[in-house]
Amino acid sequence: MLFSNILIYFVLIPMLMLGGVALCRNIKQIRAVAVIGSTALIALSAYLIAEFLKAPVEDAVDGMYYYQSWHWFTAQNLNINLTVGVDGVSIAMLLLSSIILFTGSFASWTIAQPKAFFLWLILLSTGVFGFFISLDLFTMFMFYEVALIPMYLLIGVWGSGNKNYSAMKLTLMLMGGSAFLMLGLIGIYYHSSVDGHHTWNLLEIARNNAISTEWQYFLFPMTFVGFGVLGAMFPFHTWSPDGHASAPTAVSMLHAGVLMKLGGYGCFRVAMYLMPQAANDLAWIFLILTGISVVYGAFSACVQTDLKYINAYSSVSHCGLVLFAILMINTTAMTGAIMQMLSHGLMTALFFALIGMIYGRTHTRDITKMGGLMKIMPYLAVCYVIAGMASLGLPGLSGFVAEMTIFVGSFEQGMTDFLAGAGSLRLVFTVIACCSIVITAVYILRVVGKLLFGPVQDKHHLELTDATWWERLSTATLIVCVAAIGCFPNFFENLIRGTFDPELFRAIAMNLNF
């Protein structure tokens, strides 16, 4: 039965929410639907975590729990199934998504045209949830694109500033990425067959490991770039600053918090998982690109004056670190990458929520035109400082554990490579990436100093009010999550690490043997 599998509810609940919102008559009902739905999703993912942590290994199919497959397009060896299954990483991502949807609902408490807004927002999250539970390349890709297109309208209609341009640019660039991706996926489908039996099933493809090396060299860049565009990999990141700057609050939150994670998730779950040989051989190309992303984004952020641009570039830097760590192809660094995804997701959502709330009051995002907000809206300002601290890697908050794990893992890999005579690329880029912690501190403190501290710049701002209860709830939730990861990292790392067991993740095993 379709509904006997718990995972399907991650898609089903958003769909019900869609229906619910469509039937709503006023904003109160819409809020209720959004909040109830997203709370249910959080509960569901929490339940999943609890179950996962005590589930016996035998229940898993290649590390995937709740594995189940339903026929969809199956005529004539097409073999498109609706295959679901989760491992620790997917669960972590599901939890992240539901939390951000929850907080995003609160952040858009008083949005204009709420019905349409929530419809699109929930459609977007349907895509996100579907993507994370899917184990079938086709389904995965479908949900991936479902998550992309609502962005256009969400930014276009509810955005601000140069929204037409940004929305179009974002959509086209991301779709451009998915064009490469689609080609890559179809290529994988055709070249992974054993005995003429084609399959879209991720696990089967990985198990067969039948893609020839030459084809891996062709398909790996396709898929990696395809997902990398969404992961804001240099030089395909340029949609991100404009897109984030124009998007409304909840959309920025969801986009930076969750959608960009789709990119990183896809990179390892599809590109590296299915094509281990190419992942090992071609990692250096992308390592250079992502290494550049890390410092490049950070440096760019240093001189921006628009709050959202600063944060968008910081996302480029942090998400660059995710891909960077994934490309280290070792368990520690990749675990760190996922931690960084979680951490960045929550913290950047917090940032965007706060920026949205500040912008909603001051009607400007130019840091040169604001100042001394700590005096005017202390709650928001304190939250901003906390977010900033998380971003620059203060221990006790999530950023530190993620970055530390990444650095330890990458350094280990870099030195191993170096000592094995395999070049010092990883080592050099690890050191370069480490430098980002300083640059991050520079731009974070620059903003905090200019925006929150110092004398009040604009006298009109003195009349502004502090956060409302829904804004407090939204930000407090995120802060609690950020602190939870920061204080109890082992809980989350234990969730994640299983995915990158060399026995399951062939690329790591290859890298180790090398």
């Binding site: 340029t238 005096k375 790392e493």
Partner: protein, 691 residues
Amino acid sequence: METSAILILAIPLLMFLFLGLAGKYLPHKWAGILGTLGMGVTMVLAYTVAFEYFFSGNSLFIDADGNRLQHVVFNHDWLNFYDKLSIRLGFLLDPISAMMLVVITTISFMVHLYSNGYMRDHHGVWETGFQRFYAFLSLFSFSMLGLVVATNIFQMYIFWELVGASSYLLIGFYYTKPSAVSASKKAFIVTRFADLGFLIGILVLSFYVGFYSDGNITDAFTFTSLTSVPVDGVADTFQVSEGTAQVIRDLFQNSAAPMFMGASVLTWALVLIFMGGMGKSAMMPLHIWLPDAMEGPTPVSALIHAATMVVAGVYLVARLFPLYLMAPAALDIITVVGALTALYAAMVACAQIDIKRVLAFSTISQIAFMMVSLGVTRLDHSVALGHEVHEGLGYMASMFHLFTHAMFKALLFLGAGALIHAIGSNDYTAMHGLRKYMPITHITFLVGCLAIAGIIPFAGFFSKDEILTACFGHSTVWAIWMALVAGLTAFYMFRLYFLIFWWKEHKVHDEHHAPHDQPWTMTLPLVILAVVSVFAGFVPFGSLVTWNGHPITGSGFLTNLENLNWSVAAISLIIAIVGILIAMKMYKKENPLPEKMRNALPALWDWCHHRFYWDELYQFITHRIIFGLVCRPIAWFDRHIIDGTMDAFAAVTNKASYAIRGFQSGNVHMYVWIYLIGAVLLATVTMICVL
């Protein structure tokens, strides 16, 4: 024991959370009392723990031969990187951590107490954010305590960062003042830059330890084993855990160990770690944040930027000292950096007007003393001016000085705070001749000055004397250099003292508003610290704190006096007295001598007064080079080249669209032409290709 240990960390943390979250709803007074009480309890606990460690004679802490042992009270996994490496959080008791517990809790408690008075104005109106202030103080105390009891280098790094952040918050306490904001930013970023070195150093160390050992790196990384490295000829290490210790030792001594630019990678690692220490301890050239950090409230300066946080660098080197012992090159670097910094800071301190800045530079200079002292420590037997030097004396001296310096420097800062609070200005030009108005402050300040100048029997004398002895034992050049710096120290401290309390009569406009001693909350800590500063010199450090736990002196009250190297003591005393006398001559009474000297060497004055233009240099590097030549071009590149390329795709598509629109001319003839050409081309091209 374990309960006390947990409570020592937990009370300040909980206090931070409570005051941070609920402080707004508490009356100011209660927030202050609560914070102070919390810290008081912590202090008592720390005292009991330290007392138990040093004096109980428990076999956990001291072995049969009287060697002190390292004891891990608890140690829990916090973050597993991989099966061999994880971060543990724990509580390590050994001589230096027990000593630091005492120092930190004492000073912190004094500052908590003192702030009750300091953080309100003469009419008793509380500073805005008073509760926040106490929350931050608690956070800082928690971080600092966590740092000193760290069981491993990762834990140290974690709390190291937390200390940095709480320092940031406290320096920027007056957040509406732009100078405070930029000072806090500067402090954070400079130390962060240093931490980058620390981080990479840790990574290098952790990798090599893991690479060469089959065992668990986490265990190896616990200080108990990191510092139990057997050193040639000396067996008395804390606790030899063979496997990992042997690995580390091999790493250093194995000629096959990897080299990088002529030095072993491990030496590099230690130098990088020392870079972290340079940042926190404000060694040149990373010292520039400390003088600016005086923008924070004065009690904060006393707590963080005089007594505790800034010595974290020294503590770090001391922690890893057995490792440094195996990399003499790293120690030499520490010596040179320390010596240069000491002189530099002392010179600059002579030309400052702001009393807190003088104290700040004196702090830098004194910490440099400790660094030098560590840097000159070797285990070979050496002789200083005819007397044999105890093995590892420098280490002991450094820790001793750390201890005494914390006391008298906190005293000086709190005294300065009292003055500032009374006068409302940081400049000595606004003070002069205050001795009659603020007698308690005057006396305590004088005690502090005497202590730092190294006049017998004040605390500073003993510790500084040991340092100089250690220097003489290692290298006469550095010893003389440091002795001169000690003289300068005496000079600038008494310059400050005379300019504040003498020089000329204080002008009082209104009897009611004449400066006066502060309330008991402020004077009590002064008095207590003054008393400590007088007697701290007699603490038998040689029997309590040594690099390997092996006592080098007896434990009597007068041990320090008995063990004095009198030749060295004489030199340092003479130099100090000369310094004081010159200061007295120049500054006791208003006279034109200082002016004359300034005019005689204007360049020297300018350079000293402007701190050798380091700030300007940094300003140039950060703003012109980093921002102007890196950030801006990158941002430009992003907007115009990368973005431009993407936009160009769109523009080209549009252009192409316009360019080819002529084909759709609306003319049937044209349509047919194109049709025909298409068909014929299709045929001919295929024919050419196929046939």
